[in-house]
Amino acid sequence: MIKVIDVTKTYGKGESLFTALYKVSTEIPAGASVAIIGKSGSGKSTLMHIMSGLDRPSDGEVIVNGKSLVGLKPKQVDAFRSSEMSFIFQAFFIEANQTCYQNVLLPLEIAKVGRRDRRKHVLEALRAVDLEDKVDSLAGNLSGGQKQRLAIARAIVNNPKLLFADEPTGNLDSATGDIIIDLLFKLNRERKITLVIVTHDLELAQKTDIQIYLKDGEIEKTVAKKRQHRTSPNSSKKVVRMV
């Protein structure tokens, strides 16, 4: 579960001061699928960075799975990110001249997973995205959709509780994008991974349990689906919080 309380983020000083987020508070229950929607410059990426500990708020509090990220040392935040969460990006960020295996291996190496279990984990993650047969292929030879599936395999190999997806379909055609979206929601359902999608694609946003609309650094509205989330029926009641 992610709790964001009165988070403000400013850049610069004096006259050039820019407020990216202003007193943003929201709550994402464990296992939910959430979309953060807004135009470019609305602060949606900044919010994601702050939720994931990549960035620190200028003011306010972020609590992830019961831990306050603001008070942690950089080293502890790194360890926390390595074990609890993961990312996929619009531009995939896979290493083209490494094999699929080596790409998926990276989070396991960072988390110091024992050498014996690595292959098993990597193959399992590739199977989940249906790329098992490409294990030894160079990542650069994959198609766009396959590259994003590879990125998803890399994101889930460490069994994270939280998955941040930054415009996951932005570089894909709609048919391929749909496959990726289906895959993400399947992981959300079956593995109970909390899914946070940052997007400006309203159609995609409609498929999530909760939609947080951001405008000029503030939350415009939060919409929750009427259907209760299966895994966390209690927390979903508190979801709607208008600002």
């Binding site: 790194d78 990312f87 990006f89 960020f93 080596q102 990276l106």
Partner: protein, 449 residues
């Protein structure tokens, strides 16, 4: 991240930029190549000098002369005062130089110095010829045998000490003197002829007379062959065909050839054996004492140092060039690593997003630099070893070092240490770029547009 994983990842990212990696490594390879060859050549020269010294000189002995020019390599910057006991000696150019000699009274004085065990004169007699019945006559030089020498033998045994008219015959004379084998020569005798000094003729008539007379001036001696010596590559150059005999016999022959001349019982150099002379302090004490009496003494170690001085200077010059090449290659590594960091900004951002620690990212790039250093070191040293090993026999032959000696001696420990130092230098060069990578802001790095 485990260090082993980092090392492998670093190696992999280098492989993805093969040309760049190789070119950067080649800069270090130039330095490594020069340094490897220099080290090998200096090892070879050092061992050549050491072999000559240790097989020809007793470390417990001092070489003592009356004339400083003999041991200091002709450093005659100051005029030498003339005194009675000068003799003449042929210098390399054929000019006759005057050299102050040591006489019996000098030797007696030196013998009485505390700590001196024994004294032997360095005697080399130019024989008129050596021969055997019904064989040709051959010119030869006979030298007093240093008890320290342990020449390799083709046959026989060296009695210790060598006494009377016993002789060690070089293998080269065996067939010339009509022996079927070295073994066959043992116990046989050879005839040694020495010539009495002729008085200098004053008129043309006496010149002609003296030529006739000269045959009668020869003194013939019979020597018994006790051993046949092999040609050793480490024998003092020029002494390969020397016959060795006992101190007494050599002195007797020398007396015959010099009687009535300035050179009679006058020696250019003598060897002074010091009691416990292996102990450097005792050797130095005796050396100081001898020099107080107005003589000049040099220990084997000093001779060695004199010979290796030149080697050291040449070595220093090449080492300096090698170091310059390595310093230049540091900038190459810094440059390459900066490019690598910039090219992989997104990868670094991703690794940070996935929770990789600053320290680990810095280390990843330092390992990359280390790989470049290792690659350069191995390439440079490898080419040097390959080329050196291939050309060694030819170079050795050209320089006439004699068999058993090599110009280049590659020491694996030395080369290993050199490569290790290069790796450390490379890591040092990768320090700034790796810090840049570690400090990179992941949000900036991951910005798509």
């Amino acid at each position: 991240m485990y260090i082993s994983d980092q090392i492998r990842r670093a190696g992999r990212s280098l492989r993805s930029a093969k040309a760049r990696t190789l070119l950067t490594a080649l800069a270090i390879a130039v330095g490594a190549f020069a340094l490897t060859l220099t080290l090998a050549a200096s090892n070879g020269a050092q061992s050549f000098v050491n072999n000559i010294i240790s097989e020809n000189f007793d470390p417990a002995e001092l070489i003592v002369v009356a004339d400083k020019n003999v041991i200091s390599g002709g450093g005659g910057a100051e005029p030498t005062e003339y005194s009675g006991n000068f003799g003449s000696s042929l210098s390399n150019g054929g000019a006759i130089t005057q050299i102050k000699r040591l006489t019996d009274s000098d030797i007696e004085k030196i013998k009485n110095i505390y700590g001196v065990e024994s004294v032997r004169e360095d005697i080399a007699v130019n024989l008129q010829y050596i021969t055997r019945p019904e064989q040709k006559k051959y010119v030869a030089t006979m030298q007093s045998f240093s008890p320290f020498l342990k020449p390799e033998l083709a046959a026989g045994d060296i009695p210790r000490p060598l006494t009377g008219k016993q002789v060690l015959l070089p293998e080269g004379y065996i067939s010339s003197l009509g022996f079927s084998s070295a073994q066959a020569a043992i116990g046989q005798t050879i005839t040694v002829a020495v010539k009495k000094p002729t008085t200098i003729p004053t008129t043309p008539q006496t010149l002609a007379q003296s030529a006739v007379q000269s045959a009668d001036d020869s003194v013939l001696e019979e020597f018994t062959i006790v051993a046949v010596t092999k040609k050793a590559s480490t024998s003092q150059p020029g002494t390969e065909l020397y016959l060795y005999t006992s101190q007494d016999a050599a002195r007797a022959l020398n007396d015959i050839t010099t009687e009535g001349t300035d050179n009679f019982r006058a020696y250019t150099s003598i060897y002074v054996k010091v009691e416990d002379g292996e102990n450097e302090d005792k050797l130095n004490a005796v050396q100081t004492e001898i020099e107080k009496h107005g003589y000049f003494a040099q220990s084997v170690k000093e001779t060695q140092e004199f010979l290796t001085q030149i080697i050291d200077v040449l070595q220093g010059i090449v080492v300096a060039f090698g170091l310059i090449a390595i310093v230049a290659s540091i900038f190459g590594i810094v440059n390459t690593m900066y490019i690598s960091v910039i090219q992989r900004t997104r990868e670094i951002g991703l690794m940070k997003a996935l929770g990789m620690r600053k320290r680990d990212i810095g280390r990843l790039f330092r390992f990359e630099a280390a790989w470049i250093g290792l690659l350069g070191g191995v390439i440079g040293a490898g080419i040097a070893i390959g080329l050196g090993t291939a050309l060694n026999p030819w170079i050795t032959k050209q320089l006439n070092l004699g068999d058993g000696n090599k110009l280049l001696i590659f020491d694996p420990i030395q080369i290993g240490a050199l490569v290790l130092i290069l790796v450390v230098v490379a890591i040092f060069a990768g320090w700034l770029p790796s810090r840049k990578a570690a400090k990179l802001d992941p949000i900036e790095a991951l910005r798509t547009e």
